[in-house]
């Protein structure tokens, strides 16, 4: 159970550079939700203070961004300056990664649709382009030779 908790804690910190920063200042509070042994606490604290943690966080973002850029490149461009803000909000809402391109792109697409519906994002061509790109990718995957 403890190893499972250690892995879960590590994953949660990698998914959130902000939480890593908070944990460097107040480790006890940030790890309170995890059931860790003393050795695991020492390990996690050392890793959080290791410069390599920023590489972990960066790779997490690269890996999550890649499916979105691959499937929805024009949607991304149309979002313009809002794109980065939206993808960070999406990751905060869905911290579990789905590295299968179509699934992750669909999830991000649903997120954008919700943001438009709630007025957080302006309506406009972005929704039409989003749907077109999702449909095109789906067709590309399902077509035969």
């Amino acid at each position: 159970m403890s190893l499972q908790e250690f892995q879960r804690a590590t994953a949660e910190f990698i998914a959130s550079p902000e939480r890593c920063v908070r944990a460097r200042a107040d480790f006890d509070t940030q790890v309170a939700e995890f059931t860790l042994t003393e050795r695991e606490r020492r390990r996690l604290q050392a890793m959080l203070n290791d410069r390599g943690m920023s590489a972990n966080c960066m790779l997490y973002r690269i890996n999550r961004l890649t499916p979105i850029l691959e499937v929805l490149p024009r949607t991304w461009r149309l979002l313009g300056e809002a794109a980065e803000q939206e993808v960070h909000a999406f990751w905060r809402r869905y911290p579990d990664a789905v590295l299968q391109y179509a699934e992750e792109a669909k999830r991000f697409g649903r997120w954008i649709e919700e943001q438009v519906a709630s007025g957080e994002l302006p309506a406009g061509p972005v929704l039409e382009v989003l749907r077109l790109e999702l449909a095109a990718f789906s067709r590309q995957q399902s077509a035969g030779t």
Binding site: I14, M58, T145
Partner: protein, 304 residues
């Protein structure tokens, strides 16, 4: 296990070249997960295959021996082992006549706090402890039983080593191959990445590793980003990887293949000619070191 020679990790940029048999390769390595959508444990059907990708694999299988390189088994996750995933790999092993299946010695799935099979987005740093060794050795036995073919596990890249380990990574790998039917996929570029970022002594690593357990070697290139050197499969292998390959291949008496990996997004820079050069050079190492491997194992030079 057949001795195959030099292979390439398949990506879509390679389709035409491979189908036209224009590359000097003896086998092709495929990533099964790129050809299906995994809807998760409990879903029916769980795996939705992509017809276009399947057709390409079937066409490749008509020409080349295939091996599989999985990315989703997460054999080092403390969460429950995914036997359904093993069964899917076993189905593919039979369907495409895969010579072997390799996977990463990695934990990418985490569970807990009411969440099951949460994908971490990256391979988590592993603690080289007795606890993990027991966990992985038991799972390797299950996996090999299910696959009915050799299972190779690959050494990974780490940016934040887990402190206070029970043993070194090399000791862990040596014990893993001694205490389970697992063979090694030694990724020399991953080792090089760790040497650049962490100061790992790559020469000492391969000196201390039981090279007789290495069945496959991966070679690749990378690039720098954000102050780190990454295993981005960005094109040609750096000189240090070639040096390691020459050193390691001669002593890896169980070696069955050397696989060059690159990411398709870098193909315009690598070019077909550049790819051929990498494969040809790997072929030279394969042939030059084969005699030494044969002598060490007492195999006739004309055999295999």
């Amino acid at each position: 296990m057949r001795r195959l020679g030099v292979g390439v990790l398949y990506n879509r940029a390679l389709t035409d070249l491979l189908l036209a048999e224009q590359l000097p390769v003896d086998y092709v390595e495929i990533i099964p997960e790129r050809s299906w959508t995994d809807r998760g444990r409990g879903a029916t059907p769980r795996f939705l295959e992509h017809p276009r990708d399947i057709a390409r694999i079937e066409a490749l299988a008509q020409i080349y021996p295939l091996v599989a390189h999985g990315v989703g088994l997460s054999i080092a996750s403390a969460a429950a082992f995914d036997l359904g995933y093993v069964e899917q790999l076993a189905r593919w092993r039979r369907r495409f006549g895969l010579c072997w299946v390799s996977e990463h010695l990695a934990a990418v799935q985490v569970s807990g706090n009411g969440v099951v099979d949460h994908h971490a987005g990256v391979a988590l740093p592993l603690a080289w402890d007795e606890e993990l060794l027991h966990l992985v050795t038991a799972r390797v036995r299950h996996a090999v039983d299910g696959l009915q073919c050799p299972l190779l596990l690959e050494n990974g890249v780490v940016f934040t080593p887990v402190p206070e380990p029970d043993m070194s990574e090399v000791e862990f790998l040596n014990r893993l191959t001694r205490e389970s039917p697992c063979r090694l996929l030694l990724d020399l570029h991953n080792l090089y990445v760790n040497s650049v970022n962490l100061g790992v002594d790559a020469n000492a690593f391969v000196r201390d590793l039981d090279l007789t357990t290495v069945a496959e070697i991966h070679i690749a290139g990378g690039n720098e980003f954000g102050g780190f050197y990454l295993d981005s499969h960005a094109g040609a292998c750096p000189p240090q990887v070639w040096e390691l390959l020459e050193q390691v291949a001669a002593h890896s008496t169980g070696l069955r293949g050397i696989t060059f990996e690159f990411h398709e997004s870098y193909f315009p820079q690598l070019t077909a000619a550049g790819l051929e050069r990498e494969l040809a050079r790997a072929g030279e190492v394969w042939r030059a070191t084969r005699r030494e491997r044969d002598v060490a194992t007492g195999v006739s030079a004309s055999n295999g």
